[in-house]
Subunit: 330 residues, 6 copies
Amino acid sequence: MRPGTVMLGEPLPNIPWQDRPAGCREVIWRHSENPVIGMHPFPAGWTVYNSSVLPYGEGFIGVFRVDHRCMTPHLHLGRSRDGLRWQIEEEPIHFQSADPDLGGVDFAYDPRLCRIEGRYYVTWCNNYHGPTIGLAWTDDFRSFHQMENAFLPYNRNGVLFPRKIGSRYAMLSRPSGPGAAVAFGDIFYSESPDLCYWGRHRLVLRRGPRKWERVKVGAGPVPIETAEGWLVIYHGVADTCDGFVYSFGAALLDAEQPWRVRYRCSVPLLAPEAPYETTGFVGNVVFPVAALADAATGRLAVYYGCADSVVALAYARADELIEYIKANAE
Amino acid sequence: MRPGTVMLGEPLPNIPWQDRPAGCREVIWRHSENPVIGMHPFPAGWTVYNSSVLPYGEGFIGVFRVDHRCMTPHLHLGRSRDGLRWQIEEEPIHFQSADPDLGGVDFAYDPRLCRIEGRYYVTWCNNYHGPTIGLAWTDDFRSFHQMENAFLPYNRNGVLFPRKIGSRYAMLSRPSGPGAAVAFGDIFYSESPDLCYWGRHRLVLRRGPRKWERVKVGAGPVPIETAEGWLVIYHGVADTCDGFVYSFGAALLDAEQPWRVRYRCSVPLLAPEAPYETTGFVGNVVFPVAALADAATGRLAVYYGCADSVVALAYARADELIEYIKANAE
Amino acid sequence: MRPGTVMLGEPLPNIPWQDRPAGCREVIWRHSENPVIGMHPFPAGWTVYNSSVLPYGEGFIGVFRVDHRCMTPHLHLGRSRDGLRWQIEEEPIHFQSADPDLGGVDFAYDPRLCRIEGRYYVTWCNNYHGPTIGLAWTDDFRSFHQMENAFLPYNRNGVLFPRKIGSRYAMLSRPSGPGAAVAFGDIFYSESPDLCYWGRHRLVLRRGPRKWERVKVGAGPVPIETAEGWLVIYHGVADTCDGFVYSFGAALLDAEQPWRVRYRCSVPLLAPEAPYETTGFVGNVVFPVAALADAATGRLAVYYGCADSVVALAYARADELIEYIKANAE
Amino acid sequence: MRPGTVMLGEPLPNIPWQDRPAGCREVIWRHSENPVIGMHPFPAGWTVYNSSVLPYGEGFIGVFRVDHRCMTPHLHLGRSRDGLRWQIEEEPIHFQSADPDLGGVDFAYDPRLCRIEGRYYVTWCNNYHGPTIGLAWTDDFRSFHQMENAFLPYNRNGVLFPRKIGSRYAMLSRPSGPGAAVAFGDIFYSESPDLCYWGRHRLVLRRGPRKWERVKVGAGPVPIETAEGWLVIYHGVADTCDGFVYSFGAALLDAEQPWRVRYRCSVPLLAPEAPYETTGFVGNVVFPVAALADAATGRLAVYYGCADSVVALAYARADELIEYIKANAE
Amino acid sequence: MRPGTVMLGEPLPNIPWQDRPAGCREVIWRHSENPVIGMHPFPAGWTVYNSSVLPYGEGFIGVFRVDHRCMTPHLHLGRSRDGLRWQIEEEPIHFQSADPDLGGVDFAYDPRLCRIEGRYYVTWCNNYHGPTIGLAWTDDFRSFHQMENAFLPYNRNGVLFPRKIGSRYAMLSRPSGPGAAVAFGDIFYSESPDLCYWGRHRLVLRRGPRKWERVKVGAGPVPIETAEGWLVIYHGVADTCDGFVYSFGAALLDAEQPWRVRYRCSVPLLAPEAPYETTGFVGNVVFPVAALADAATGRLAVYYGCADSVVALAYARADELIEYIKANAE
Amino acid sequence: MRPGTVMLGEPLPNIPWQDRPAGCREVIWRHSENPVIGMHPFPAGWTVYNSSVLPYGEGFIGVFRVDHRCMTPHLHLGRSRDGLRWQIEEEPIHFQSADPDLGGVDFAYDPRLCRIEGRYYVTWCNNYHGPTIGLAWTDDFRSFHQMENAFLPYNRNGVLFPRKIGSRYAMLSRPSGPGAAVAFGDIFYSESPDLCYWGRHRLVLRRGPRKWERVKVGAGPVPIETAEGWLVIYHGVADTCDGFVYSFGAALLDAEQPWRVRYRCSVPLLAPEAPYETTGFVGNVVFPVAALADAATGRLAVYYGCADSVVALAYARADELIEYIKANAE
């Protein structure tokens, strides 16, 4: 597999990037100046993490989870030239909605940003009488149009596919329960003809059996299409007598039937180890949410939340990553 | 309101019926020979409860929850001339399905039977990697065709409306969590253009605030269309230091926007009191699942499960019931 | 000890009474026509239990816990000629209060009625941002004057002594936690110079160690003064894998230092066994709340709630009861 | 299989017995005058249940669980001519022990009585810093000699085999956790050369997968040797939102390697249905503890505790029971 | 508002103080050499935190929570010239008490020190059959006189007002439940004519609704009287899947009716961020307990416990703080 | 007590050692270059901790708990010249077993290594239908022979004595429950004539009463025989609202009746304080597992797991340690 042919997407020559450090044998390695976005992104913001970015114009654009000083999460827009230094707007994103009753203002968190057929979509954990998947579109990152919530509560980590599967939109999500520290969750796949009505639900990845992901699993970045199917980076959660530990997992899903798992990596790609990952508002969390990909070279840059406090960056090469998943598949 | 005009449906002259006993002041009263279906409906069946019936041909037809001797629930077809004496088939219903992976055989329970535009639909609590709403249709009660599960887990008590709302099918359901004794649940409304993809989810009835329904609420019989909107009989659950208590609740929903509650009765219509309701496999449960309605006279016959053991019957007059709901609305 | 001298109070010749049935060897025996007050005391009332009575005028008066049809508890006044047949008012007691913010209307339950120096006091479980001890006085059972809540939440089963101890009013109560099924609670003693400010808190009876009272204990009727100290009948609670079991316990407290236990009966006086005790809204509950005493003869009539559904009556002779407590003390 | 040859033991012509009632199709049927031992077996005893009997002399002897009035369980000896009418001694059994620190006096419950090579052994749930398996022997039912506890806590339902397996004593038990309502437990097998040291532990029956036994399983009567291996009647426990339900299960174990299951019956033989089984101190419990067997005729009489309150009796024929187990094996 | 007039108390020219660091925009800022008291204050002491100080003589005096090596908390006296370097006595404070049964020796923690009308009072979490509010007075910090416990269990964080309200002493406290990690608690106000009997309980601050204080809230330093009412700094607690997070909250209460909240700051003043706050025996805890105030200049020095391990100091200006509370009030 | 005579074992001149640092007053002190084994002991290994070592040949040998990248624990052999720098084999230890069904491959953790009469034994937490004590022997650290599991589940922290007690092998263990974060556990003693059958179980150390060990206690290194009895270093666990805290405890047991505690130190010897102890996969854990002893000089080197991530070393002198235990005994 040649690096430049493994991913089916577009080139992204200005992807943030650092080569693997000398001596490092990991398949994924941390940015040397992590975290790339620290606490207090602006005076009213307390923490910033679990955020999503895309290439846009000359640079990059992102939707950020900013927990305000009252520790309530909101979605904020951010822009960057280089993907490393970000300007995050102090006003939360305002969603226009035909129905003001759909939630979206308070307790909006863990956004994903996905481009499908030229339009941009935000999915997030929305609070509509319980957590569920909020959905909005924008063409210009100025006006955001809130659509119907995709599912009934209780659901989190809704992640769209960047193209239709067959003739339908597709989404991964993680049904679960209410509450701050739910202790179960599997990844399901659903389809929609119109992004309004959803069905044909299929289980994709069940939690476990290994300890690092035996509590719950949830989708992370928008799936990346490769010659080996959809590359999915997700979070897996272990339980300890000092709380949960969140790590990166990875799998390859069938290109046209993404509910079929081709390879599932039995080990985490990255687990909390750096101080900004083990310590913070919620220690021992690395939570992948977005990936930039340069199809021309196979380079990947993964943005991930650390300790529910800051945003960090890690790098990988798609060809190596796919080999690693296959080599470590069960 | 004249009794014979309150309900918008069809006459049902052979509805099972007993007049209100002398001295009874309740808005709903029990059949004098309850339970109408006792334990051990056939040798391999242990209990029979939480079951649904409709007029069919000269008599009645029903889909029954029968917990087999291993206490695993299955769906069984039953037939009756008079709605009181039932022949329940010993073989569980076999659902034909394009996708054998949708669940439906084991742990299928709490069925509802609904006729829409001449076709019969069964909804039930299906086990697809968690409880969710199974859906099947039949035209002849011989072959049953399983469709896609309506929602992602975890969901129970899916109940179809007997006609489209606007141009779409409509369903009530109760999202919740996994496990045998979930302690929360509200009633939501969802729509579908085709019974495959579902969306436009709206909260209808939240649990509480009064004790009798402060733990959870879930839809019961198929909604009954009346001059005052949809008459919905549901179950409300109280918590005590000796387990849960299930009672009958009732509300009137807007005819064209059923997620809008016109009147919600602040008191239960019926709560466990008879010995076959307070004692059994799960004591203190009355669980309404089906209602026969004679639009010509306003008579209602409600089938309900008792103590997770047997099936009982209660009677009401639609006009009185509607008045009662309005008089006791908050 | 002669029966007619053991109790220090007044004669009550018209006390409800039945002699011990032939063959019965129990120290306390049930009224033959139990329950004396059944469910549905009036149309809007669902259950009636855990209620308190006193002699008044020619007959008796009582404050009753009536759970309305919505299962929310309220306090109602009742009157009786013979202590067996009761007229319960359909309107809840209205408490006049200088401060409308003290609670008392909704979720008022488990009342005790106590006469001190000619005035009548009601204590009950009041809902003031959590359960606590409500307090009111009346001279005529027409106007009730709500006083300050005695304690901070979370507290239940507040029971006044019928005379001052030293120069101060005294109360037993059971501090615990919020919620419907708290699993701990001990009986404490507190004093007040004025029924407004309370202090000098002392532990009286800790739960356990025997199974029948190892979960929690709470005071029952107003203490009865005897030649052997205060006779206290209380409830003790066991835990089983089918919920809690409430029984009658008894102890004798020092006359002037009631926080000192002279004798504590190691066995329950009465435990759920009759059908109206084992089955109902909350099965396996006998909950003593009031005792009538005829000092002239030593006869005692104890009113107790059964299964959170009805009111029953049991009889004992004070001299025998005291002997029994002493004989079974640890 | 001829009835008189299926069991390998001795004849017991005076076994308590009633033929199957006309119309009954069950493999096991209840004694017509159940319960055979009611509450209050003597004045200081509250309930009597979960007890074990054997033929002895002209009649029968038994070790009974009697919960005293304080609801603390103790072991008591009882004697009967006919196995139906029992004289239970008011004094608990006194165990002589070389080490007074082994427990045995308080909180001793659920005894089994087993005869091995002419000597009688009692096993029970003993309280030694947690529940574990107490063990004692007697030759005359006058002096009882307490031996070492078989296992470390936390363990219950220890049941000896009536002969050595290979050259070693053998026991079934159910390791679990502390507390009154443990929610898990599987049946294990252990061996001992001398009834003092135990090892070679093997899993025999895991809980589940069917609902009636998905919470826990525990051995019941002493295994009965048959031509088809060891007949084991055990209890299986289901969870409901109104507490646990205990039923009878059955399996056939290999004669010489009893940790190997030959047949496991997928359905319960008997589940709570009679009023004395569904209602009581702990409702919905049938708990088999002892079986008398007449090898000459294949008759079986099973003693079982009901609702943690009383002792009842059920009958079966060994040949039919074995056929039933095999027919219903998975 | 001029800084020197906002507080109504006395000047304290020797208050520990550091000006706000350049570039800092926070309303409250950390001492540059935090923690001011580290672990192991003396050989038998393990941690020191959640402690209270007052001006005394030429310098300062304090009552310190020292968890001994066995991790059991005790109260110790400490003295300092400058409020930064402390001499903590190795012997715990000995409380003289008329009743030796009131608790106070073991498991005494989270003390507050308050001067009222020239006398010094210590309140603390005392263990009297459950946590409750201990109370003692001293005139010389040599002999300490233990008074009656203020309330029944279960209560913590009792904080006296520094003057009578009306004619009565006043205290804030936080009723809750037993156990090490209670998950609820609101701040109540109570009054006493004599510091022995307490009543007139009023809710002041309920937990939530924002995440940072949605689990529980509890009073911190002795309220500070200002021109805008009582300045109350308290702790608010958030729940995460890695345990609780404790932050500083603030409110202004009415001067004469302190149960009326004039302004409540919707955001925390300070949350765990420094390493000595995020890591330690109990990570992510900042717990304010005492505040020194210089009325002449408006300077405030707040002592707070960090991670249940050490004592730190933060500074603020009263006028800025009051403006901040008002600007961020809901 | 002269240092060189306090321990009854053999000299170990090459024991890893550092003298107590100047100014340190602790009875046990940390190695200056801790951790001695860091994370990622080899590419497939994630963490290494809770491991056991012994002198062997010219140097040292050890059995290490290595959690692989999937966070599943395995046992690995390691060798070292100096006890500080270790070569850990990448392949897990392969246990030969007559019965392949005894567990031992997956989820094997917390090994102890013990030499008895010239043969080496490994005990560990084995997964046989629940955690229990696995046991194996080796003479050459090349072939390992798995024996029967010592006990029924659920058990952990099985630690052999290095010689027979009386004529029998002896083991400490900690019965408990299933699950990742069990919240109870006491240390028991058991004996075996042959390392196959175990009995004569006795309680040794119960958890509590002091906070540092009030949740659970479990044996650590193989007991060290001294002139004052068996020196046992164990772990004690405290509960906080941020998870558990594990510390070192110590006791002296009777030489011939080790279930009798001669002295129990009321304070922990060492508690989490260094960064590698407070932060990691499971913060705030110090878990002692092995001790090297030089009987000639009284030097002790204790290996302990830190934060479930790495291995550290601490030093003590046996004579001082014994004096400390006695001085701090209750």
